[in-house]
């Protein structure tokens, strides 16, 4: 596959590629930075549309709930690759790890913006509200992000600080992997557990005793679907080809779990006698039907039909699954709870969310181009040029050269 080569700066041995898309993304990030500043200085009033009736808005529903779910790809692939020895899938593991890490960092950023007294963010570390599911989520996410960073450090240290750290990291890596598989499972389920206490507020179709399990399962299958989507995207951008068979293998595990998920959901409908709600034709029930149909049933159909063998079919499955889970999270936070609230994210909220995603993409691209992540050894071969000093930096900035 031919990869279009864009302008690339090499500064101190690091590659910075500029493409029109990235230019736009950088603009979005700058816009976000301004909005973030406004938010931190003035509170929520100018930036968000949050109200007492919708205290949780886009930042929680999309940035946090969806972000965490989508970043689930990291742990699900890690689980398959390292634990269940899907060795062929190893090629995607590093990419998935990186997306997860970025995802989590952005989730933390989103969370930080969403908390009112952000200077107090450390309180739960010392003032333990252990009765709260959020407490568990908070700890697990912080721990997991730390672990992920350490794991990722292995890749970083392939290039930087090679001598000093790389071998130590390699040594503890197995431990990290195990711990790194405990935390995500805990907090993915706890994110669902957050809603347990809202029994009296949620629309009955979404509330269930099994919410933690639902969230865990969906994070797992959306994880593999996300890896699928993301490698496809990376393929377009970097010509990084992953055999269809491997992708299929990954998604098939996801789809099996999806099937169990569907069965449990149906069991819920029977056990809590909710069929009446499903077809009552209200906003909530329609949203529920949409979610189940497009997010679960159709993807399952794709996977059991011969469609799965085609690239398009698999990609459709992956996209539907990803969107379905996003839809599910949004439904849990909005549709199920705010029957009379009319919340639509404010422009500031959208800017920040878009900016965060852009930032993630930019960092992803930078890292992929400079480190051995999706199998291009290119970056590692570049020697660190100690002699490139400030003069060269300015020189490089002044004179752009084609890479």
């Amino acid at each position: 596959m031919k990869v279009k080569v864009y302008k690339c700066f090499r500064i101190l041995g690091w590659d910075f590629t500029i493409t029109p898309t990235r230019f736009v993304l950088t603009g979005l990030v700058a816009l976000m930075a301004a909005t973030v500043l406004l938010r931190l200085l003035t509170g929520f009033q100018f930036v968000t549309n949050l109200t007492d009736e919708t205290p949780w808005g886009m930042w929680i529903a999309f940035d946090v709930m969806c972000g965490v779910a989508l970043a689930g790809g990291g742990y699900s692939t890690a689980l398959l690759v390292h634990m269940f020895r899907y060795k062929q899938c190893e090629v995607v593991a590093r990419g998935a790890l990186l997306t997860s890490l970025l995802g989590y960092i952005l989730v933390m950023a989103g969370l930080f913006l969403d908390i009112g007294q952000w200077f107090n963010f450390w309180r739960p570390f010392v003032s333990w509200g252990y009765t709260s599911v959020l407490f568990e989520v908070f700890w697990c996410i912080s721990m997991y992000t730390t672990i992920l960073s350490l794991e990722f450090f292995e890749i970083i240290t392939e290039r930087v600080l090679v001598k000093k750290l790389h071998r130590h990291i390699l040594k503890i890596l197995p431990v990290l992997v195990v711990i790194g598989l405990v935390f995500p499972v805990l907090h993915q389920s706890s994110l669902g557990g957050l809603f347990l206490i809202m029994k009296e507020k949620m629309f009955p179709l979404w509330w269930s005793q099994f919410l933690p399990i639902y969230f865990l399962m969906s994070s797992f299958f959306v994880g593999s679907a996300m890896v699928c989507v993301e490698t496809t995207l990376a393929r377009t951008a970097y010509g990084h080809e992953i055999p269809h068979e491997i992708m299929l293998k990954l998604t098939r595990v996801g789809a099996r779990i999806m099937l169990v998920y569907l069965l449990m959901k149906i069991y819920d409908l029977f056990s809590m006698d909710l069929w009446g709600y499903v077809f009552q034709g209200t906003l909530q029930s329609n949203m529920y039907c949409l979610e189940m149909l497009f997010g679960i049933i159709i993807p399952i159909c794709i996977i059991i039909s011969p469609l799965r063998k085609t690239r398009g079919g698999l990609l459709t499955y992956a996209w539907l699954t990803v969107l379905g889970v996003i839809f599910n999270r949004l439904n849990c936070v909005f549709t199920s709870m705010y029957e009379s609230g009319s919340y639509f994210p404010g422009i500031g909220e959208i800017i920040v969310s878009a900016g965060l995603v852009s930032l993630g993409i930019l960092i992803y691209c930078f890292l992929v181009e400079n480190f051995n992540i999706i199998g291009n050894a290119r970056a590692v071969q570049v020697k660190i040029d100690k002699d490139k000093d400030i003069k060269n930096l300015i020189w490089a900035l002044l004179r752009t050269k084609r890479h």
């Binding site: 450390w122 309180r123 570390f125 010392v126 003032s127 333990w128």
Partner: protein, 493 residues
């Protein structure tokens, strides 16, 4: 080496204990809970759900047309409850749970009692200013007798200063198109009411005792608490509304102005009037009798807003057609005044001649006694037993007595506010002890110095009957000058 290690150790210990200490501090100190930053009046300290003498406040519903309250100013002093309960007999005199209304007769005594100015009349100043500025509207204003002896107080004058003519001058300067005197329509009321009373005395004995109905606070009280007495109420509209109806019919016709282009404003000592003007019944041919009521206090604000100083403004006369008044109309503002005025004219109706001097200065119905009794001997009719009652708590006790023992009076005057209209809820607030007596004295002084003392002597009244109404209780008079009442009992009971 040892040095290095110990230093490192030292730093570690310091840093470690710092972190631990910070953590402990942060975890242990939860700081102050939110709230409890304000204050609360003293009677609410201590185990506060004990009963105390003065506490709580009256309920004022959002759509109360008479009064409103600014919560920020309220200090929960309980004075309004005191006024509402012990002076006006409203608060606490209906059963709980509520039926479908928050009881309020609109008297505005709470606005007088409220020490912090939290309760005020519902202001119509802006509406009136807008009407004045609207060239397509003919804005007519009338002034109630009790306002003439109190408005001066708002401009630093002696309590009881008579400022009627200055008020006319000020109103004209403020831009009203015509200024009429409610004393005129008080005379009109007397013509109707005296005729009605004589009629009831002689032909409709079941409607005796005759109860006056010129006080809207009392009328609403009667509708709330004594609906069985509603048919004893005089069907006469209050002077304010007689004036309103006359302006939009007789005056409009005479002037060639479309009634819908006339805005009727009144200057009243009363907040209940604001409720009265909104009554369904008080409209003729789809024209509301009255449009806006300003209290004496509101007028003072309006004049000050316009930069008009009552002390320096030129005096002026009421406009003609509906501007002439007699002493009888003037004394409407004081408790006992309506009775005295009615008796003067009833005497004339019965005998064809004006009453003797003692009925022109009829002391038994004057003064601040809660219930005053008197009897007037009118040749040809006999002796009429009369009671005069002011303050609704007094009325309540009187009426409960009547309910039990029947009435020994044929005519009873009720005024909601203590002292009558001069003590109305829209009057200037004052800390002068005998302010009411001073205003009353001023009113009787005006009466004494009037050339004409009886309503039927009013030449404009005579001509309006000749030109428009025919005679008292005529069909036309019934249409424009009489009204009906609404049973409000089941809204409270």
């Amino acid at each position: 080496m040892t040095n290095k290690i110990s230093r490192r150790k030292f730093l570690k210990v310091v840093a470690g204990s710092g972190v631990v200490g910070f953590g402990v501090m942060a975890a242990g100190c939860k700081g102050d809970p939110s709230g409890a930053q304000g204050w609360i009046p003293d009677q609410y300290q201590g185990k506060g759900d004990f009963p105390v003498n003065l506490k709580g406040r009256v309920a004022i519903s959002q759509d109360n047309p008479s009064i409103e309250r600014d919560d920020e100013k309220c200090i929960l002093c309980g004075q309004c409850v005191e006024a509402c309960k012990n002076v006006m007999g409203v608060y606490g005199n209906y059963p709980l749970p509520l039926k479908n209304e928050v009881a309020c007769v609109g008297c505005g005594q709470c606005t007088i009692a409220c020490p912090s100015g939290a309760i005020t009349e519902k202001r119509n100043i802006q509406d009136v200013l807008a009407a004045i500025d609207d060239d397509s509207k003919h804005v007519v204003v009338q002034t109630a007798p009790a306002t003439k002896v109190s408005l001066g107080e708002e401009f630093g004058m002696e309590p009881g200063a008579s400022v009627g003519k200055k008020m006319v001058g000020a109103l004209k300067e403020a831009g009203f198109d015509a200024v009429f005197d409610t004393c005129f329509s008080a005379d009109l009321t007397i013509m109707e009411e005296a005729s009605e009373f004589v009629h009831r005395l002689t032909k409709a004995k079941d409607e005796i005792p005759h109860l006056t109905s010129c006080c809207p606070g009392w009328v609403k009280y009667c509708e709330y608490f004594y609906p069985e007495l509603m048919h004893n109420l005089s069907t006469c509209k209050s002077p304010q509304n007689m004036m309103g109806a006359t302006i939009k019919s007789f005056y409009a016709e005479k002037k060639g102005i479309k009634p819908e282009n006339i805005i009727n404003v009144s200057i009243m000592p009363c907040t209940a009037k604001k409720f009265e003007v909104g009554r369904e019944e008080l409209q003729v041919d789809d024209q509301r009798d009255m449009d806006y009521v300003l209290t004496t206090r509101e007028l003072a604000v309006l004049l000050k807003h316009k930069g008009i100083d009552l002390n320096t403004v030129a005096e002026s006369e009421y406009d003609s057609v509906l501007g002439e008044s007699t002493g009888a109309g003037k004394i409407f503002g004081a408790t006992g005044g309506v009775t005295e005025a009615a008796v003067r004219t009833a005497y004339y109706f019965a005998t064809g001649s004006n009453p003797p001097a003692d009925l022109l200065s009829w002391q038994p119905v004057r003064g601040m006694k809660a219930v005053k009794e008197a009897n007037a001997t009118i040749p040809g009719v006999g002796t009429v037993n009369i009671a005069v009652c002011h303050g609704l708590e007094n009325a309540r006790q009187l009426l409960n007595g009547i309910k039990e023992h029947g009435s020994k009076w044929q005519f009873i005057e009720f005024m909601a506010c203590p002292g009558g209209c001069i003590g109305g809820g829209g009057q200037p607030k004052s800390s002068v002890a005998d302010i009411k007596q001073k205003r009353i004295a001023a009113i009787y002084k005006e009466d004494n110095s009037s050339a004409k003392r009886c309503s039927h002597d009013n030449t404009e009244i005579q001509s309006i009957y000749k030109e428009f109404y025919g005679k008292p209780l005529s069909e036309k008079a019934e249409k424009y000058l009489h009204t009906s009442f609404v049973n409000r009992h089941d809204r409270l009971f």
